[in-house]
């Protein structure tokens, strides 16, 4: 029961020693992003192809305030959460009216809408060049420009996010969302306003995405245009599916695999997304539960092998 937590804490401590702190930081940021998506994808059964809308919007707004007005870092994070939630409320309100393919296309289309606003509004966003100069403010004497200090902040926020998400999915809300995934008609009939619950899942997921967006902007000191682009939406989706959308920890593992692959293999081989594609195909065809399922299958094999041993 407590094993995943211990493993995670160990990973948080060891990771910056194994990879560059910036990559380690990015892994946890992406994990927060994935947690938000997975509430929609894994728990509510909604495939959102527009999560970067919330990620990017929060990054731009909070990044701009940090840059122009030098606001407090925690205020910026709070604003990011708020912007993520608010943009998700707007997008979600329009999307939950539809289901299936129409729903997916709406999330995608609205993502594109936000993308082109960012693309055109060059005076604020810098358009294609991105919005550079996002600072990592000094707070209460703590200098977040030190990569390890910033890593500590991000990993603490990640653990907090994970804990909050754990509480949400183990609450009645988590069960209701899963009931909607399993059978929306019956969920409605037993007394749940399904579109409203879907919207709630959107808003919560958006808040997580927003937090990740601001952390991302502060990590690299820039909000690149890609942060609000559909490739980014696809990346978090891939990462979550590869990790396993069926469990709380799936997106965390997926983020680790995805970022680590993209940072390490991409320097060796420019066509690395090919590997990602292969991994994705394998997951979709043989391993719907992603890495998490693979792990538990190996565990079960090993367990049965062990338990059968004494009999011989």
């Amino acid at each position: 029961m407590k094993k995943p937590i211990i493993l995670l804490l160990a990973a948080v401590v060891i990771l910056p020693m194994v990879v560059r702190p910036a990559i380690a930081t990015e892994i946890w940021i992406f994990a927060i992003f994935g947690l938000g998506l997975n509430l929609l994808l894994g728990y509510t059964g909604l495939l959102s192809f527009g999560q970067s809308t919330f990620f990017g919007s929060a990054a731009y707004v909070a990044g701009w305030l940090l840059k122009q007005y030098g606001i407090n870092a925690f205020l910026a994070l709070g604003i990011g959460v708020g912007v993520g939630a608010a943009s998700a409320a707007l997008v979600g309100y329009l999307c939950v009216q539809r289901s299936g393919l129409y729903f997916i296309m709406l999330t995608f289309a609205l993502n594109q809408l936000f993308y082109f606003i960012a693309y055109q509004w060059t005076s604020v966003t810098g358009g294609e060049d991105g919005m550079p100069g996002v600072p990592r403010p000094v707070l209460a004497g703590i200098d977040f420009t030190n990569p390890l200090v910033y890593y500590t902040l991000v990993s603490a926020l990640f653990l907090a996010s994970l804990w909050i998400m754990k509480r949400i999915v183990e609450s009645p809300l988590g069960r209701i969302l899963q009931a909607i995934r399993e059978n929306p008609v019956r969920a409605e009939a037993v007394g749940y306003d399904v579109p409203r619950f879907k919207l709630l899942a959107f808003v919560i997921g958006g808040a997580f995405s927003g937090l990740a967006g601001v952390l991302y902007a502060m990590l690299f000191g820039i909000v690149p245009l890609e942060a609000i682009g559909f490739v980014f939406s696809g990346n978090v989706l891939f990462a979550t599916l590869i990790g396993g959308s069926g469990s709380l920890y799936g997106p965390v593992i997926g983020s680790f695999v995805f970022i680590w692959l993209s940072e390490s293999v991409s320097t060796l081989w420019a066509r690395w997304p090919l590997l990602l594609g292969v991994a994705f195909v394998i997951v979709v065809l043989f391993l719907r539960g992603g890495v998490v399922e693979a792990w538990s299958r190996i565990g079960a094999k090993f367990g049965s092998w062990q338990s059968s041993k004494p009999k011989n």
């Binding site: 509480r167 183990e170 069960r175 037993v190 007394g191």
Partner: protein, 249 residues
């Protein structure tokens, strides 16, 4: 007095009038059956009563209060719960979680909705377990719904409706697809619920209908063609023609 009433309820899908001017009155505490050939509009009537879609015209009254047009998710909170002809459960959930979700929906309070752990809602869990026990599935509470037999799924279907603690229970062919033995169990189950709930029952199997019903309404091509006690219905020549088969008349 009538707990559930419809007045000239009509639903048209394009040129097809599935339910046509149905005025029905269900007395509190009784078991009221609705029978009729396939396509007579029985399930559509249920869909109207539970707000799956709004009627084209007419009114629905619950306890004398007009609930016409109330959306499905609100209807459950008014004390109207239904089961489905085609099993409609939450397949990946355990049986207990299936009924738990329904019990929580109509629970006293939703406080702690996104934060409190589900196991801390003792009152909801108790009601969920009671609903499982009522249909005889208490021993399988932890089994996943997708792994139980068809007969057990039909029982679960009923338990989900019961878990909402309804005042009126709408049962759409609870014995659909059951073996003779399972059917007998289901009849015994429905009989045991009689008196505790006001029940509106759609059923095809005449032996069930005649043995458990207090009143029967007969639908044919969307309209009510007869109402009465089982004995009256059996004698009614129009019913025999429409439903029991012309040869018997």
């Amino acid at each position: 007095m009538a707990i559930l009433e419809t007045q000239e309820l009509t639903k048209a899908f394009g040129a097809l009038t599935a339910v046509n001017g149905v005025s029905l009155s269900v007395e509190a505490g009784t078991l009221h059956s609705i029978i009729g050939p396939n396509g007579a509009g029985k399930t559509t009537l249920f869909n109207l009563l539970t707000g799956t879609f709004p009627p084209s015209s007419g009114r629905i009254l619950l306890d004398g209060r007009d609930i016409t047009g109330t959306p499905a998710s609100r209807v459950a909170h008014l004390g109207l719960a239904r089961s489905y002809q085609r099993t409609s459960v939450f397949p990946a959930f355990s049986l207990l979680d299936n009924v738990w979700v329904a019990a929580f929906a109509t629970g006293l309070s939703w406080s702690g909705l996104a934060w409190r752990k589900t196991e801390r809602y003792a009152e909801v869990t108790a009601r969920a377990r009671q609903a499982l026990a009522d249909v005889g599935l208490a021993g399988k509470a932890d089994a996943p719904a997708r792994e139980i037999s068809h007969g057990e799924q039909r029982q679960l279907e009923l338990a989900i409706a019961l878990a909402a603690a309804p005042r009126v229970l709408l049962l759409d062919e609870p014995a659909a697809g059951l073996s003779p033995e399972e059917t007998r169990n289901m009849v015994a189950l429905v009989r045991s619920l009689k008196g505790r709930y006001t029940i509106v029952l759609i059923e095809h199997k005449m032996d069930i209908i005649m043995s458990v019903s207090d009143r029967i309404s007969v639908m044919h091509f969307g309209s009510l063609i007869a109402q009465g006690t089982p004995a009256e219905i059996q004698k009614n020549p129009e019913v025999r023609r429409a439903y029991l088969g012309g040869v018997a008349a």
